[in-house]
């Protein structure tokens, strides 16, 4: 599944970051690398963007960009 499908409050483990170019590089730089665990925090009032928690900080990104991130759901 992809990150945009992850339910609120659920955990996921990144498998791969797809897409290309600078945005992808940015996502990798921000710590969205394979095997990292992310916690879906909330959706913005209009359903987009979403905010996630990883590596000790909170990050926001759009559903469109989140759909580039392949994850598997895990339970903690």
């Amino acid at each position: 599944m992809t990150l945009d499908k992850l339910g609120i409050g659920k955990y996921g483990r990144i498998i791969a970051v797809r897409g290309h170019g600078r945005l992808r590089h940015r996502l990798l730089d921000m710590g969205l690398t394979p095997r990292v665990i992310i916690h879906m925090q909330r959706k913005a009032p209009m359903g987009d963007p979403v905010s996630i928690y990883l590596r000790g900080y909170e990050l926001t990104l759009r559903l469109e960009d989140a759909s580039m991130i392949e994850i598997e759901e895990v339970s903690i």
């Binding site: 791969a16 600078r22 940015r26 990798l28 209009m46 900080y57 909170e58 926001t60 990104l61 960009d65």
Partner: protein, 666 residues
């Protein structure tokens, strides 16, 4: 000795910079407050220069202010680097450190916000980290000035012994082999370009274009490197970018496992979640934001600000009366008395009396920036802004624009695409800046006494509404394409510190008062002079005969269709281009009145309808000189003229349509 401060956005670089140099640079709690390279001198040793750089997450820059940082670090070769890491998000900070370590420049890592780290129950064994990274690691709390002396001792020691971080390998296996091979191939190119080979190798593998250009590799070398990279990709089943990022984070995770103990629950973040459950609530989030903005303006105009300003203007008027009586009793020449009272007191006093209002507005806006709410506003408004062709990040410059357009235009540097940046710069002048506030206040007082606050808030709303319309039109015809992706850190909420807030208010007050006594003072005297004498430099009895009236009357007909075709209004608009608050001081001088009794003579110049038309025009017409200069710096001369002409043309059209409609409808 030049020391550079480098680190992630919002990791506290500017706070440390202020502590080390004793300056008062603006700090705030959202990513990207600093958008420019700033220099200062270390307090304890004047031979050390400290450079504050905009925050970065990696040496592969993303937006224009991040490019400044990269260029400084790579091309200007500072003598030492102080790498600041937010202790609460250590891993992401170390990711940057691993790149900085390759630059072959003496470096110390400062782990900042240790007070929060302790409060959160996180344990960071700095000695263990230091053993792995082979650079000194100093825990500090920049906002409490703890650990900063140790930090400076460590880095100056390294710099004077020229101790660069020792070369070491962070990786093994395929990435390691490729890195080494690449470094060997480009070694002499790197030497010629004056960059460390190992750093160049990583950048080339990542596909970094500026580095490609700097090294000027031959085709043969490029092919050899490419071949190595493809082999690595095949072996790891990861592409080059991911492979490098993964290698770094893997190393960081390994050392963090040994050096960091995190509690199960992040206490500080748990608090933030609780606040966010309300402030970014699914249904209530946007209404809460709008209420906060409304509340800010209501407090500024309706309650505190106007009360304080009324007090102050009363005091200034009383002082003017005393001085006037004194001058009369000395038997001073009436023209000289007029110079002091109608020129200096009326002009400077009219602007000074608004200091409290503007300070209140800045105070409230600074709370948005310092608490961490600003980033949330970007978060909740992103989708709405996308509908008009912008991204959530554009809201930050626009909110700053309610204070002053100049820093707002600077703040657009954090936007990563030219399209978004340009569009935001064009829209920012629609956000009515604080210097226009006196104009609204004076006119609302004179013509719409009962609906004072309402008229002022209406001005802001009209500005915002027109910005939305302008955005929709330009999205359709000029700025086609998509808004930038929105990837942004949401910092934890933090209580704004009293010291910071006071410093900011002090700076703003000082700035505003300085302007009153310089630009406004000179303008007032010039206006007074031109208003008091005729072309033959004789004192006029009726200001209708003055030099100013003659000049003003030449321009005035242009504004006749808008309802304010008199020479006073046109003069005020021209001085308003120098600084918006000069519109009010000009009227004060021309009508030779203090603030308190300005309403009566003003009513002889305007009717309520033409007054509103004048307000619409001042809301929208060209930004002041300083803001125009800022546009030129960010976008160039052509865009500057476009902004000036577009805003003035729009102001003219809107005021024209309003006035003619109002006249037609009676």
């Amino acid at each position: 000795m030049i020391l550079a401060l480098a680190g992630n956005q919002n990791s506290g670089k500017t706070t440390l910079f202020n502590q080390l140099t004793g300056s008062n640079q603006r700090v705030g709690n959202f990513p990207g407050v600093t958008v420019d390279v700033k220099e200062g001198i270390y307090r304890a040793d004047k031979s050390i220069k400290i450079v504050d750089l905009p925050g970065i997450y990696s040496l592969s820059p993303y937006s224009s202010e991040e490019i400044l940082t990269r260029d400084f670090l790579i091309n200007k070769h500072p003598d030492g680097i102080i790498n600041i890491i937010d202790g609460t998000s250590l891993e992401r900070g170390l990711y940057l450190s691993m790149q900085l370590l390759l630059l072959n420049i003496p470096m110390v890592i400062a782990i900042n916000m240790m007070d929060e780290v302790y409060a959160n129950g996180i344990v960071i064994k700095t000695d263990v980290l230091s053993e792995f990274l082979k650079v000194p690691i100093i825990p500090i709390s920049a906002n409490k000035n703890e650990g900063t002396t140790d930090l400076m001792q460590a880095i100056t020691g390294l710099v004077s012994n020229r101790c660069s971080p020792p070369k070491q390998d962070f990786c093994s296996g395929a990435v390691h082999r490729t890195l080494h091979a690449t470094a060997h191939i480009l070694e002499d190119h790197a030497q010629r370009a004056n960059v460390p080979a190992s750093f160049a190798a990583v950048k080339i593998i990542e596909g970094d274009e500026p580095m490609m250009k700097d090294l000027a590799l031959g085709k043969n070398e490029k092919d050899m490197i490419e071949h190595g990279i493809v082999e690595m990709e095949n072996e790891l089943v990861l592409d080059r970018m991911a492979a490098i990022a993964d290698m770094r984070y893997q190393y960081i995770e390994d050392i963090c496992k040994k050096a960091v103990v995190r509690p199960k629950v992040d206490k500080h973040h748990a608090k933030t979640i609780k606040i966010d459950n309300i402030l970014t609530h699914k249904i209530l989030g946007i209404p809460i934001f709008l209420s906060i903005m409304f509340f800010i303006f209501w407090l500024t105009f309706g309650v505190i600000g106007s009360f304080l300003s009324d007090l102050l203007s009363g005091a200034i008027d009383a002082l003017a009366i005393i001085v006037s009586k004194g001058l009369t009793s000395f038997g001073i020449n009436p023209v000289v008395e007029s110079l002091v009272i109608d020129g200096v007191f009326a002009g400077v006093g009219s602007v000074l009396s608004f200091v409290p209002t503007i300070i209140v507005l800045f105070f409230l806006l600074s709370l948005l920036e310092d608490s961490g709410y600003m980033a949330r506003v970007a978060f909740i408004m992103d989708k709405l802004l996308r509908k008009i062709g912008l991204s959530g990040k554009s809201i930050v410059p626009m909110l700053i624009g309610f204070g002053c357009t100049v820093p707002a235009i600077m703040a657009t540097r954090t936007l990563t695409s030219d399209r978004d940046k340009k569009m935001t710069v064009f829209l920012t002048p629609f956000m009515s800046c604080s210097a226009k506030l006196p104009i609204y206040a004076v006119f609302a007082m004179a013509f719409f006494t009962q609906y004072r606050a309402l008229v002022m808030i209406a001005m802001y709303l009209i500005g915002i509404l027109l910005a939305v319309v302008a955005a929709l039109i330009s999205k359709k015809f000029v700025f086609k394409g998509n808004p930038i992706p929105f990837v942004m850190e949401l910092p934890n909420y933090r209580l704004p510190t009293v010291k910071n807030t006071m410093l900011l208010l002090w700076e703003k007050t000082k700035d505003f008062i300085t302007r009153a006594f310089t630009i406004i003072f000179i303008a007032s005297i010039v206006i007074w002079f031109l208003n008091k004498f005729d072309i033959r430099f004789n004192v006029v009895q009726d200001s209708q005969d003055s030099i100013l009236a003659v000049i003003g009357s030449l321009i005035a007909p242009v504004f006749t269709p808008l309802g304010f075709g008199n020479w006073m209004a046109s003069t005020a608009l021209i001085t308003g281009f120098m600084a918006k608050e000069a519109v009010v001081s000009t009227f004060a001088v021309l009508l030779s009145t203090g603030m308190e009794n300005m309403s009566v003579p003003l009513a002889t110049v305007f009717s309520p309808v033409s007054a509103f038309s004048f307000l619409l025009f001042t809301l929208l017409y060209t930004p002041c000189v300083a803001a125009v200069a800022a546009v030129k710096r960010e976008l160039g001369t052509k865009s500057m003229f476009v902004v000036v002409l577009l805003q003035t043309g729009l102001a003219y059209t809107i005021a024209l349509v309003f006035y003619q409609l109002a006249m037609f409808l009676g």
